[in-house]
Amino acid sequence: MTEEKFDSGALEGLFDLARTEKHVPSSDLIVRVLADADTEQAVCRVTSSKPSEARESRLAVVFRAIGGWPAIAGMATATVAGIWIGLSPPATLEDISSSILTGETDAYLSELLPGFDDFVAEG
């Protein structure tokens, strides 16, 4: 029964025919699609031009740039230590600082830095 046979060649012919079938979008559909495109483009434009809510403040940028909380903790410790040393300095440091500040006894750089003369002589 040749009538019962539908060979692959005939099937390819049907596929060829189906490929020629054009599905032309209606003008109404095109208008709707382009309206969507305009709307989405406008939304995208507004979103990109508006400053982001998540944008960091200047203070936050500086805070992050200097290293965040660990750096702040280190600086606070150094500040407190400096104030404490300033208010009640150790005895050895007090002699040197008082002689420099009051001028009661001459203090020379060469006394504080014994190798300074050699450094100057060598140029």
Binding site: F6, L17, A18, H23, L29, L34, D36, Q41
Partner: protein
Amino acid sequence: MAFDALADVSDDALLVLYGNGDTDAARALTQRLLPRVLGFATRMLNDATEAEDVAQEAMLRLWKIAGDWRQGEAKVSTWLYRVVLNLCTDRQRKRKGIGLDQISEPEDETPGAVAGLQEQERLAALKDALAALPDRQRQAVVLRHIEGFKNPEIAQVLEISVEAVESLTARGKRSLEVLLAGKRAELGYTDD
């Protein structure tokens, strides 16, 4: 960029242009992709109105993703066909959920530009046979033999392996030959 100058620009470059605010890029993409998307949705759903809704929704998703689109990472047409396929699958599931007796007869108002009664009969026979195939076989056969995709592209659209695509298309074609058996003379195919 002028509309005419966009004819040779690739789909993904057009999408990036659209994302950057080029108004002509949307028109070029619509002109290029909407007929294909509409045709595929119509073949999947056999319903012109539903196919239009799916096509519009798929294009809307394309516009929405434009800002995040990375050029060269994926093919726009492959991505878009996957979206269409998922939307069609959702609608087909809803149809099945409604129940067969509540579904109106498919109304395909777009017989296309094919002239001639016999050609329309042939197309109708092919549509009926495709509709009788299991979903995955129908999708693979339509993408391969009507939409003209290559097997690796179909694998991306269907999210399966290339081997699975080959198997689906082969089984689909065999099933179509069986389904169309007996209609050869009716459709005007005569032995020379």
